[in-house]
Each structure stands twice: as structure tokens, then as C-alpha cells.
């Protein structure tokens, strides 16, 4: 994965994790698998754990043990009401940001900056 993608992912991974947990409660490795299925491959999978810890401290998610067939209990994470509210805020923020970037990349102009497409000389 190139550096730009890594940087973009770094800035949005907490939001992606929150959105993944919002779909249904899951454990760490499961989240990584779901992100990979959506096209987000993490450089180091373990980087989700510090973020999960932060989200827990912020009161957005909570961890709880679930019995596993394969061995000891697994720690699952589920969304809390504060997390759901925060996710909505982040989602709106991201949409605004992504739309602005998309407009710029497509070369569209907003009404506020309407004018000549390129500088012209005065005659």
C-alpha cells in the first residue's frame, strides 16, 4: 500500500472501525477481515487495538467476553449510544470533505468561485 493510502487510512481508521462495529458486534480479527473485504488492507493489523482502546475510553464502544468454540473467550466490541452519535457526526464530516475533494479532482467549480477558467490578459 502506498504512503498516501496509508496516511488516508490512518486518519479515518477509527471512523471505519466504529462503522464496522455499528453493523454488528465483532472481535478484532473479524474487523480486520471485514475492512479487507471492503478493500482496506492494513499495513499492520495490530494498529486497530490502540484505536479500539481509545474508542473504549471515549465511551463510544465497549468490550465484552464471548465464549468461543476454538478456545478461550473472545473479546467482542459493541457500539454505545455516544459512539452512534459520534459516528453520525464523523459520517457527515467525511461526506462534506469527500465531496469537496471529488469536486476539486473532477475540476468542477462552485458558484462562489465562478469566473474565467484561466487567467486572461487585460485589453
Amino acid at each position: 500500500m502506498d504512503t498516501r493510502s496509508t496516511q488516508l487510512l490512518k486518519g479515518t481508521l477509527d471512523m471505519c472501525l466504529l462503522a464496522t462495529i455499528a453493523r454488528r458486534p465483532c472481535y478484532g480479527y473479524e474487523m480486520v477481515q471485514q475492512l479487507a473485504q471492503q478493500g482496506l488492507d492494513l499495513v499492520s493489523e495490530g494498529s486497530i487495538y490502540p484505536l479500539l482502546g481509545r474508542l473504549q475510553h471515549l465511551g463510544y464502544i465497549e468490550g465484552y467476553p464471548v465464549a468461543s468454540r476454538d478456545g478461550p473467550k473472545r473479546k467482542y466490541y459493541r457500539l454505545l449510544p455516544a459512539g452512534a452519535k459520534q459516528l453520525e457526526h464523523w459520517r457527515a464530516e467525511w461526506e462534506t470533505f469527500a465531496q469537496a475533494v471529488e469536486r476539486i479532482l473532477k475540476g468542477e467549480r462552485s458558484d462562489a468561485t465562478s469566473g474565467p477558467a484561466y487567467p486572461t490578459t487585460d485589453r
Binding site: 478484532g28 480479527y29 493489523e45 495490530g46 487495538y49 490502540p50 475510553h57 478456545g71 473479546k75
Partner: protein, 202 residues
């Protein structure tokens, strides 16, 4: 889930133990530490089972990973305390550096000159880059009443002693520029000594 080979199992155990030891050193409570260990071990096991490397989970720097996780698992007041501590260390380092630099700057070089049987000592800041300065007050400085016109005439290298002063001793306030112009200072025969040796030279 199929278990990895013994060597990989050992690697996983070593990595998990190393992280657990680090977290313990970072003051993470036992129950939480165990929880983190278990979570990491399960992730590593499953990743290896899926054909991934351990580096794919921990990245190239396992210590960095352990540190990043530990930082997030500390309660808020600990993080605030760590910030205060780092601020305190920063302030102390500035104070100590300033003290060290001022100590270096204030270390005077003393030059002993012998000319026509007259002994004179001169001193100024060894590290000063300023061309003009003022001599520091000497322990042998005369009181105000003794610094008259005669004393002012007895500047650098003067053979006549001013009242209450030894031969060649400089008056307080002699501009260093004047000393720099003095060929006695500018020529060979001078040598630096530490201020404490001053009494032995004069």
C-alpha cells in the same frame, strides 16, 4: 482452528510475553494486561492460520505497537500526569542548560602580564563575542572614594598604582575595547588561568 508449527508457536509466545512485560512496566493493571495478551495471542494465532506473517499483525516494530496500545489503555488522569511530567522534564532541562551555559560564559580568562617588572592582571569573559564590554567587579576593587582622576589615568598596563590598589591592577569599568587595542594583550606571553589562580599570580 489449526495450530501453527512449534517454532511459530514459540515466536507468538515470545512476542506476547514481551508485550505483556512492557505493559506491566508501563503500569497497566494485571487484569487488563491479561485481557490484552489474550486478545493479541488470539489475533496472532488466527493470522498465522490464515497464512499471514507475524509482522503483518505487529508491523516492523513490535515495541512501537506495544507502546501505542499501552498509551491508549492508560486512564485519562495518567495521560495528564505524563504530560505534566514531560513538561516538568522540559522545564528542568531548559533551566539546567541555561545554568550550564551561563557557567561557561562566566568563566573568566585571566591573563597575567609581566612588563618592566610590573605585574598586571586582566580578565574578561572567555566566551564573549562582544568587542566591547566591561570588566567584572574584582574582589580587590577599590571603594568609590578611591576612584579619582589619578586612578582613571592608571588604566591597562599602567605602572603606577592607584590608591588602594596594587601595581597594574585595572580599574573597574575599563572598556574591553581599550584592552583589545592594548598591544600587551594582543601579543604573545599571555596565558589563560582559572579565576581561582588569580590570587597566586598577583
Amino acid at each position: 482452528m489449526q495450530r501453527a508449527d512449534q517454532h511459530t508457536q514459540q515466536q507468538i509466545a515470545d512476542l506476547v510475553n514481551a508485550c505483556a512485560g512492557y505493559w506491566e512496566l508501563r503500569g497497566i493493571e494485571r487484569a487488563r494486561n491479561n485481557e490484552m495478551q489474550l486478545e493479541l495471542e488470539q489475533h496472532l494465532q488466527q493470522a498465522v492460520h490464515d497464512g499471514k506473517s507475524l509482522e503483518a499483525v505487529l508491523g516492523p516494530n513490535p515495541l512501537g505497537f506495544a507502546e501505542a496500545w499501552a498509551r491508549e489503555m492508560h486512564p485519562r488522569f495518567w495521560r495528564g500526569g505524563a504530560r505534566c511530567l514531560s513538561g516538568l522534564v522540559y522545564v528542568l532541562s531548559i533551566v539546567s542548560t541555561t545554568a550550564l551555559i551561563s557557567q561557561l560564559l562566566s568563566r573568566a580568562s585571566v591573563y597575567a602580564l609581566h612588563f618592566r617588572g610590573v605585574s598586571a592582571h586582566r580578565q574578561w569573559f572567555a566566551c564573549s563575542t562582544a568587542p566591547v564590554g566591561w570588566l567584572p567587579r574584582s574582589t580587590r576593587q577599590n571603594p568609590g572614594w578611591a576612584r579619582g582622576a589619578h586612578a582613571r589615568r592608571c588604566r591597562a598596563g599602567c605602572a603606577d598604582p592607584a590608591p588602594g590598589r596594587d601595581k597594574g591592577e585595572l580599574e573597574h569599568g575599563t572598556p574591553l575595547l581599550e584592552l583589545a587595542d592594548d598591544r600587551l594583550v594582543a601579543h604573545s606571553g599571555r596565558f589563560p588561568v582559572f579565576p581561582r589562580c588569580l590570587a597566586d599570580l598577583t
